[in-house]
């Protein structure tokens, strides 16, 4: 498997023509086109939000906000600047950041009042109905431990398969910054998971011994 096939295609180029037609129809007020746009992108936007926020309710709220804004401001979309998918992801990322900021402010104020220590990853558990292996649980926790900037980049690259140029566009950063964030995220994940593996191995050895 070459490194070129490792990341799934982001799909932002081969859909360009379809997107342009769909957007034209949406702007003409065709309800079916708006529903098609939503159905086409809602799943991936939700996954992006959930990967970043790691909270189901928050992700659903951001998903709604993103599409509400996108439908209202559809005439602001400029296809010469970015693909429609990139534009949608830009909106979603900015809303995720706002959501996180607002939640952080609440956490700090309540914690300060109560004099409690702020927990970093206390809520980072996937929904109860999803069963994860020990390794997957470790990866999910490790992702949650990454800084928000690194997590955003990692999800856009690992999961969505965006190119670094597209990641730069979505996050409003230079391509080189996107590359360096991705490198840092990968190394940090590797380190965290290796530590986890070592701890598990030691624990098992002690249990057997």
């Amino acid at each position: 498997m070459s490194e070129l096939t490792l990341f799934p295609p982001s799909g932002s180029f081969h859909k360009l023509e379809n997107d342009a037609l769909l957007i034209d129809r949406c702007l003409n007020g065709e309800e079916s086109a708006i529903v098609t746009v939503y159905n086409q992108y809602a799943g991936s936007i939700y996954r992006l939000c959930y990967g970043i926020l790691q909270q189901r309710e928050d992700s659903e709220e951001v998903l709604q906000d993103t599409f509400e804004y996108a439908f209202r401001r559809l005439e602001n979309y400029d296809d010469s600047k970015a693909s429609f998918k990139t534009w949608l992801y830009q909106i979603a990322i900015s809303r995720c950041r706002n959501k996180r900021r607002r939640k952080l402010l609440k956490t700090i104020s309540i914690s300060q009042i109560l004099g409690e220590q702020i927990a970093d990853t206390g809520l980072l558990t996937p929904a109860e109905e999803i069963e994860l292996s020990e390794r997957q649980e470790a990866i999910w926790q490790a992702l949650g431990c990454l800084s928000p900037k690194l997590r955003e980049t990692a999800i856009l690259r690992y999961y969505e398969g965006f190119s670094y140029r597209e990641i730069g566009l979505i996050l409003s950063i230079p391509q080189k910054t996107a590359e360096s964030r991705m490198r840092l995220a990968h190394v940090a994940l590797r380190k965290m998971l290796q530590t986890e593996e070592t701890m598990n191995r030691d624990y098992k050895d002690r249990a057997i011994g």
Binding site: L6, G29, A42, Y46, R47, G51, R72, E179
Partner: protein, 177 residues
């Protein structure tokens, strides 16, 4: 094992993340074809990426019907298009005109061209504008009114008229010796 470069531990992440140039990639590919240790290193890095992707896919799996139910209300595009294309510039133009006219009228009103403002100074100004000194005042007060000095000897500032010019008479000049 023919090595054409040192082990690639350090650049293995860059290799799998697609951060190397084409030439560097070619060299790494040539190297891992011969070096089993580096081949394993690269495979480990790829496994990590694959594991992260599978985890994210699994964790964020959702019921499509639930996501569909979250679709926001569809805005009335034809109305919105009309609204934004015509109403907005017209509304802005009307607002600017109203502000300009309002500001102009306020300025006019302040300068006394519209209506009479019932303030003491304005009353004096009105008196001086509407009534001739000869018809209402004595010759002395006429003289004072013309000179802008009232009967107590202080100056009257009449809005809308030229600044009062005190008349210097021999009686008004008092030289201390």
């Amino acid at each position: 094992m023919g090595h054409n470069m040192d082990h690639i531990n350090k650049i293995a992440p860059d290799f799998v993340l697609g951060l190397l140039t084409q030439e560097e990639r070619r060299r790494v590919n040539r190297h891992i074809a011969d070096c089993e240790y580096c081949r394993l290193t690269v495979a480990n890095e790829r496994n990590l990426i694959e594991e992260v992707r599978i985890t994210l896919d699994r964790v964020s799996s959702h019921d499509p019907r639930r996501i569909q139910g979250l679709m926001p209300a569809i805005p009335n595009r034809s109305w919105l298009a009309f609204n934004f294309s015509i109403f907005r510039p017209v509304a802005v133009a009307v607002a600017i005109i109203l502000l300009a006219v309002g500001g102009f009228m306020i300025n006019m009103d302040k300068s006394g061209l519209y209506g009479i403002q019932e303030t003491p100074t304005q009353s004096i100004a009105t008196l001086s504008h509407t009534q001739t000194p000869t018809s209402t005042a004595t010759a002395t007060s006429d003289k004072h009114a013309e000179s802008g000095i009232n009967s107590q000897g202080s100056f009257l500032f009449i809005p809308g008229s030229a600044a009062p010019q005190p008349q210097i008479t021999p009686e008004s000049v008092h030289i201390e010796r």
